[in-house]
């Protein structure tokens, strides 16, 4: 689903993220962890060609499209429809003057999905939301609801992969648990590829199959989650683990 080789992202000559290898298969959950500013978000955005003003090198294949050489139209075709993005702050990521349903309807029309009303209702129910939520404005829903709606968007558009950039860090732990539950279900039951960025090692350890640890733009360690957590090879990873309460 996602295949990255020798990715280099730099802003004005300063390299901010370097990822030698990153693959996510359908039904798999891969997590990127690391301290603030280590280049996690940058890596994620590069996958959809959303890093404005950055020079991106290397090979990125996402849903069969070579992102670095794709035309804007080709990129727009995979964005949303095949690969969806879920962001950190749930309400801020929704246009404040639009009802949730309006946004979803527009997105469906954009990607030519027919029978919008039924698709919408199903998608919303799939993330355990009441379809009535579609008539609400972003400020009228809770953070957890907004975040689950973002996931519903991906489902409705038929995305095969979800890129989640700290999807729960703005949420309370109780609400975070709901969102994580939904993401897990999608991965396991629908075979979605999930790339999750987080700084919470504990959270990552509970759902990810594989983990990449980043620091200062470099991947310092990667491998199956269980192995990395059980026997960390890099001192930084060890430090991270020790810091956990």
């Amino acid at each position: 689903m996602i295949e990255v080789r020798d990715l280099r992202v730099s802003y004005g000559g300063r390299v901010v993220a370097r990822v030698p290898e990153l693959d996510v298969a359908p039904g798999e959950c891969v997590a990127i962890v690391g301290e603030s500013g280590s280049g996690k978000s940058t890596t994620l955005l590069a996958l959809l060609g959303l890093t404005e003003g950055a020079e991106v090198g290397g090979r990125i294949r996402v849903a069969g499209v070579d992102v670095t050489s794709a035309s804007p139209a080709e990129l727009r075709a995979i964005r949303g429809a095949r690969v969806a993005l879920v962001m950190q702050s749930p309400q801020a990521a929704l246009s404040p003057t639009l009802r949730l349903g309006t946004l979803m309807r527009r997105a469906l029309r954009l990607h030519g999905v027919g029978d919008a009303e039924r698709v919408m209702a199903e998608a919303v129910e799939a993330v355990l939301l009441d379809p009535a939520i579609l008539r609400r404005y972003p400020h009228e829903v809770s953070g957890g609801q907004a975040q689950r709606f973002a996931i519903a968007l991906a489902i409705a558009l038929g995305a095969e992969a979800i890129l989640a950039d700290e999807p729960t860090s703005a949420l309370d732990v109780t609400v975070q648990a709901e969102v994580v539950a939904v993401l897990r279900t999608l991965c396991a039951e629908r075979g979605l590829a999930l790339l999750l960025v987080s700084h919470d090692l504990a959270l990552v350890s509970t759902i990810a199959h594989r983990v990449l640890v980043m620091r200062a733009g470099e991947v310092v360690e990667s491998g199956p989650a269980a192995r990395v957590l059980a026997e960390p090879a890099h001192p930084y990873t060890r430090e991270l683990l020790e810091a956990l309460p």
Binding site: L50, G80, A81, Q88, S95, T97, A107, A150
Partner: protein, 338 residues
């Protein structure tokens, strides 16, 4: 919401009270004896005393203020020294013409300013942005009176494309008299289907309305641009991009609506400004509005008239702000929740 409404109305009333008090203070500071100004140069002392008594000019100040407020509320805005008619009546005739001019100017400003602002935001940092910013800065830097003179000289006088001055060809008063309903010529001509007057008024309106529009168009373009850029850098714009929407779609269909809110407040702000700017424009284009009335009043030290215009414009300002505050709820659902 109703509570907010009441609070907001209370505030507006309070401000109006302050405006009235301030206006009163200003009118009492005017040099020259108002009685002399009214009674005329060769009035006898008895006549002057009579005028003083009639207008209560001998009462203590606070009594005068009380009377002033009472009179204002009961619709007596004093009598103009210059036209010798009730100020309110004069305003009733002059204001619609100003409203017509300023309204046309603002419509032009909005119609021109918003798309231009969108264009600049869409091509941020590139040539269209550069030229829009430059033009809009020029527009807000133009001295109106100078622009009015220049446009009139070039487009009316030298090229003859537009009429020089006036509101419409007065010959039409005979050939197709206008029935008045709102006192706003364009509106009345439209509702009574008086095409000759309508077309003539529109032709006369072009140049002065353009001059009035220059400043608001500039600020609106700047504001739209700035807000759109801000909106487009928000998280939700990133999500919209990630959903595959085009940049232009994001600006016009997603970002524009929240961006309209500050634009709306801006229009309220600019409205009063435009009326006053219109004064200078009206003087040049001989537009029969408040401005001509005010300029006459100023040059003849017609204090009641100046006070009347001041009060009216301030009232319009307070009203416009009130309306905008209430309109915000329509544009932005978040404001409704407040």
């Amino acid at each position: 919401m109703p509570r907010y409404l009441i609070r907001r109305l209370g505030q507006a009333l309070l401000v109006m009270a302050g405006v009235v008090a301030l206006t009163f203070v200003i009118t009492r500071m005017v040099p020259g004896d108002p009685a002399v100004a009214y009674a005329g140069p060769k009035a006898t002392p008895e006549q002057l005393a009579e005028v003083r008594a009639r207008f209560g000019l001998d009462d203590p100040l606070w009594v005068q203020l009380g009377n002033y407020v009472r009179d204002l509320v009961t619709g007596d805005w004093q009598t103009s020294l210059h036209t010798r008619r009730p100020v309110l009546e004069d305003l009733y005739h002059a204001f619609p013409a100003s409203l017509e001019l300023v309204g046309a100017g603002l419509v032009i400003a909005v119609v021109a300013g918003i798309p231009v602002g969108v264009l600049a935001a869409r091509f941020r940092g590139r040539f269209p942005d550069f030229s829009v910013r430059l033009t809009s800065m020029l527009a807000v830097s133009l001295p109106v009176f100078w622009l009015a003179l220049a446009l009139q000289t070039v487009f009316a006088s030298n090229l003859g494309w537009f009429p020089v001055a006036g509101e419409y060809d007065s010959a039409l008063d005979t050939t197709s008299p206008l029935t008045l309903w709102t006192n706003i010529t364009v509106v009345d001509a439209l509702i009574t289907g008086n095409w000759p007057i309508l077309t003539s008024t529109l032709a006369h309106l072009v140049l002065p309305a353009l001059v009035v529009a220059a400043y608001p168009a500039g600020v609106i373009a700047q504001m739209v641009r700035a807000t759109l850029i801000e909106e487009a850098s928000q998280d939700h714009a990133r999500l919209e991009r990630a959903l595959g929407f085009r940049e232009t779609t994001i600006l016009t269909r997603f970002a524009l609506r929240p961006a309209l809110n500050p634009v709306l407040s801006l229009i309220a702000l600019v409205f009063a400004y435009a009326i006053v700017n219109g004064f200078l424009v009206e003087a040049v284009f001989n537009w029969p509005g408040l401005g001509r009335y005010a300029v006459n009043a100023i040059s003849s030290s017609d204090t009641p008239a100046v006070a009347g215009v001041t009060l009216l414009v301030a009232l319009m300002y307070v009203l416009a702000n009130l309306v905008v505050d209430l309109l915000q709820g329509v544009v932005d659902p978040r404001a409704r929740a407040r």
